[in-house]
Subunit: 688 residues, 2 copies
């Protein structure tokens, strides 16, 4: 025995140079299946503290029990290297990695380097609208670097000197096996900062790991019901009169509309902003908002959070401004409680008290030319670079606080978010405008703990307009953003019907979508699930929407596309016909057809299309669609759809069951009672 | 009087919010016309300390006297902001800025942001082969940030809150004068580091400012004379026999050749490297190098400085290795004196003692995938990011030290360099291979304190091959790099003659080029002068080579190009005909014609083309070309061309004078006496 050991020692000594990894990290289990460690000092601000993330411990306790960390933590290591804090995690040879923020291309993140920084995405993998330093492993765990600094992650790239897991070094001149990028057995991450906190979230599956992450951040956002309808934004300089006419036009033409977004022109000055209504374009703001409310339409206001001297907020906020301006407007430091309160109170007075339903927070991401420099100084002590990573998070936090204090739920848009911010009801949007990238954004969002609004703006032709709209209506927010050119859903002559059909499909899915958001809120499951979370697939042009719908949007200019069906039988949404199980099919959808497939045995709660999706569910019939020829099950969430009374228990999870789709059962153990007017059970599929 | 003051005060108080710039910086004049300041702490390593730059105070004392700083230093400011050190310099409204490292596009750097980091250039303005944090102002001064960290420079971008020089804030919705990027009155720069040192170099002109910078770094490199000839690199796996055959082929075909470069295959293992000769391909290295020396050809050896376990240097260097490998090879920390000595001694034994003339230091720049991570640990205490900024500088420094100790001058290639390294005789090269970018690189190099080898490798057709060669022969090193495909100067059938003519032109310019390098070495003037240094022009497709030649290379695929002639009369190099003065001309050069123009009244020292440019000037006639119809003047430098005896005074500056080009005077006050065999005075131009 001794001889054997000696031989092994001698062999190691002979074959490898000295291997001196950093010290092994010490981890602490901070919630069920959640471990934390820290290198260096605790930072003043982190992503979790910026978002004021409080774990939903009740929900975490209901997750699958985990007996041991999902990674050999004895193989983790970390240390301070001069001004850098670094951590190292082991990787198995065949392990795949996903995530690394709101990426716009592909999904396989192994053998990549990510210098994750907040920016207006234009290309590459580093500068993103949501640079969430989080990766998910195909082995069923996730790692989150809780830092508000730009974090560099070397994912299966790089080899430490003497690491026994390194491949052999070869000769390029003579050895055909020589590799430009040798296999690497680790992920290393670093920040230039006094410290770095790392979280490990157990699965057992990848989607469980994301659930734990989301629940640890406090759960996902629960939007008001109306926010799941259709959104439309009017041009820059639209007046109250223009807006009312436009809303009337939607109604006259029979296109659904729930939210009307005003762009910079609602303010008396913008870029930088006065944050007060333009007397010229909106002489009676309260009357205007009330008029729209009367018509069932909610108003969303654009703002970029840079304050002009003409704003009544300017003087009161002066002591909390950063050193540099953005479009010559001042940037308030919302880490200063007094400043946050001034901002909330002003928004209450000018917006929320009038009935404004939410905000679009623009330009919090970049580009460098527009924002402050990395070294800008903010009163709370943050340098510009760190403030930039979380500026959009801080504005989401304070606006959400305002709406919560007002007892009304909100849903809005933001151009930059980050890790930790899962509970804020804001979806990211972008100026980048490539349909494929948008679709990748939809699938990436759930891997970065954010939501993505694949808004439509324009198109080269009617076909593209329809195909883009079909993608938009199956994203977190279904929006037409006509701020620049005034496009309307019916702008492409001859293509009105497929566009209307797509918008109506969105509306009809409202109970199903609302349930998917509730699953995000209460259970941490992303509304939109990348194939990597479903079954480890790498596709970014198809995804699951909620539990049971497989969505595979079509692009303009092509006649067909491929769809990979996960295991299980899948049915066409419209016809109920079985299309396959586990194989890749090629489809040729007609222009008005959105390729959506339903898991056999699923019950999909829907409503009939209507002009306002967000109106109370009373007086509305629930239509439960039944797929397959056997018994089917489903679930549905409901509450009042607009207050925070669900926090006090006023909500219900319903169990749905139907043997054959001709009738069924809807049961609940919760106390929420107001619900749909009646239930229609509808078998979808060839008659039996 | 008092009333007026009060009124002004009141107006200021009313019109602008509080302006709190950082504290004014305190500057110290550290050499004539050179000022220095520091924010925060002194860093362990800076660009100047990495290069061991020692000011040439004698040469600085000879520069134009400067009575006051060229910038209002009362407007400079700086401070520590959390982990950032930042400095701010004022900008005048019409001031132009140039420089910001070895940029590959354009020249006007105002209204740009530069996150200057060492990398293999691929696109953008941030990651460069020479990220020298230096800018030159059209107002005749230069600013250098002496930091070995990535430096971010915001050049006329960004506005501080309340700065009275800010433009007014406008309303985007209604004001057509609204600007997406408002005018900015300053340059701000920052590093994430404990401190930042800033230098200000006075002019009075922009080129004087660059001279002061270069002389403060110790002056420019002085190459051996042979290095100004033609360089050729053989394929990866070439053997000694292959090389000797290739040299013979050059001679047989009558193409000049001074330097023969061996690629990775000279080593027994490479990527990572053994740093010893391959016994198989080079069984008798000493004999091989001697054989080539006998034929007048100098050997240059490729290496990338990552050490394989099979190298005899591995064990001795082991304690000085960084934490991470590059292609599984170890990276020695040359800040450890013992390690630097081991490296020098090994190179002496395996290379210099055999007669090897210099090195090509590959892969010291990036990309991220190939180098160590930012947080890598090096024994001298540097983090990876800082080591990466200077790794190429450290290897240049130690190889230059070795050659200096050996009494032989060297000239070589390096893939990454940085500020402070002007004295090292290495030119940068790249894998990026766009002819326009290469030409921009030639003009940018002098603004970054480096040299650029616009090597040729391949071409789509014969025309492009010729045009590329014509650019290569008028860059710092004229090289054909055939490592990958074995291309030779004569590889494009039917295009041999224009290629030979270009190569011979290079050779004929040797005395003129050597003088231009001497001006770089002794006086700090870049060999190749961007138009921005000549007269503030923004062209990057033409430049001055030395004092008197205007070069405007031609690109393939176009029939004509424009050339902007600076003020003064300019003559065609070949015909002597006057082509213009101060205007832009359109030219249609024949394929074998390199558009080169000579300042009227200039004398250009040349030689007849010959197979080896670098042989001793004895037995060679000096041919002085005279341009214009009046008296002409010039200067010429000479020394033994290969030792460091010029440091002990063995060199001469000659004054040239000729009334009409039929005869002339060559005079010197220096003691160097060995010179050209005879002088031929030659008037170039229409006969009078």
């Amino acid at each position: 025995m001794m001889l054997v050991l000696l031989a092994a020692f001698a062999l190691t000594g002979f074959s490898a140079p000295q291997f001196n990894p950093p010290p092994v990290l010490k981890w602490q289990e901070v919630a069920p299946g959640v471990w934390r460690t820290r290198v260096g000092k605790r930072e003043k601000l982190t992503l979790l503290s910026a978002a004021e993330a409080e774990p939903n411990r009740g929900a975490l306790a209901l997750m699958p029990k985990v007996d041991a960390p999902p990674v050999d933590l004895g193989q983790s290591s970390g240390e301070m290297v001069e001004t850098y804090a670094m951590a190292r995690m082991p990787l198995q040879p065949k392990e795949k990695l996903f995530g690394m923020g709101l990426q716009m291309h592909g999904s396989d993140r192994r053998e990549g380097i990510y210098h994750l920084q907040m920016d207006h995405y234009s290309k590459g993998v580093d500068r993103l609208h949501a640079p969430t330093p989080l990766y998910i492993s195909s082995r069923g765990y996730a790692v989150f670097f809780n830092t508000a600094r730009p974090c560099s992650i070397y994912a299966g790239v790089g080899n430490r000197l003497g690491d026994p897991n390194n491949p052999p070094a070869r000769d390029r001149t003579t050895d055909p096996k020589w590799e430009a990028q040798p296999y690497s057995p680790s992920v290393e991450a670093s920040v230039q900062a006094p410290g770095l906190e790392v979280y490990l979230f157990a699965g057992p599956t990848p989607i469980d790991a994301i659930r734990r992450y989301t629940l640890y951040c406090g759960g996902g956002a629960l939007p008001p019901r109306w926010a799941l309808g259709f959104w439309h934004r009017v041009p820059l300089a639209a007046t109250a009169e223009d807006v009312l006419k436009e809303v009337a036009e939607f109604d006259k033409r029979g296109f659904p509309l729930d939210v009307l977004g005003l762009e910079p022109g609602w303010q008396s000055q913008a870029y930088p902003g006065s944050f007060v209504w333009s007397e010229k374009r909106f002489p009676n703001p309260a009357g205007f908002v009330a008029e729209l409310a009367g018509r069932g339409v909610h108003v969303n206001l654009w703002e970029n959070p840079y304050i002009a001297k003409t704003s009544p907020m300017f003087k009161p906020l002066e002591s909390s401004f950063g050193s540099h301006t953005v479009w010559l407007g001042a940037a308030a430091d919302l880490n200063v409680p007094k400043a946050a309160k001034i901002v909330r109170e002003h928004h209450k007075q000018v917006g929320v008290d009038l009935g404004v339903s939410g905000y679009k927070i623009d330009e919090v991401d970049g580009v460098d030319f527009w924002l402050w420099p990395d070294h800008a100084r903010f009163p709370s002590g943050l340098p510009g670079i760190e403030m930039r990573q979380v500026y959009g998070v801080l504005w989401q936090r304070e606006l959400q606080r305002l709406f919560h204090d007002s007892g009304k739920r909100t849903f809005g848009l933001v151009r930059g978010s980050n890790g930790g911010a899962t509970r804020f009801p804001f979806a990211i949007y972008s100026d980048t405008y490539n349909h494929q990238e948008y679709l990748t954004g939809i699938t990436s969002a759930g891997l970065a703990g954010v939501m993505w609004c694949a808004e439509v703006r324009s198109a080269k032709n009617g076909e593209e307009w329809v195909r883009r709209m079909q993608t938009a209506v199956l994203s977190h927010i279904a929006q037409l953003n006509a701020w620049a050119d005034g496009t309307k859903p019916w702008s492409f002559a001859g293509f009105e019907e497929p566009v209307r059909k797509a918008m109506e499909f969105r509306i009809s899915l409202m109970p199903y979508l609302y349930t998917a958001f509730a699953e995000y809120h209460y259970e941490g499951t992303p509304v939109i699930r990348a194939m990597s979370l479903v079954d480890g697939g790498e596709e970014t042009d198809q995804y699951l929407l909620g539990d049971d719908l497989l969505v595979a949007p079509m692009f303009a200019g092509v006649a067909s596309r491929k769809v990979r069906l996960p295991k299980g039988n899948w049915c066409d949404y419209d016809t109920g016909e079985m299309v396959g199980n586990g194989q890749t099919i090629e489809i040729k959808p007609a222009l008005d057809k959105i390729p959506v497939y339903v898991r056999e045995g699923a019950l999909i709660p829907t409503i009939a299309p209507q002009p306002r999706a967000g109106r109370n569910t009373k007086n509305t019939a629930l239509i439960v669609r039944h797929y397959g020829n056997g018994p089917a099950e489903g679930r549905m969430y409901d509450d009042d759809g607009e207050t925070f009374n669900q926090e006090k228990g006023s909500y219900a999870w319903y169990s749905l069951f139907s043997r054959d789709g001709t009738s069924g059962l809807l049961t609940t153990a919760n106390k929420w009672t107001v619900g749909y007017d009646k239930i229609i059970w509808r078998h979808v599929g060839p008659s039996r």
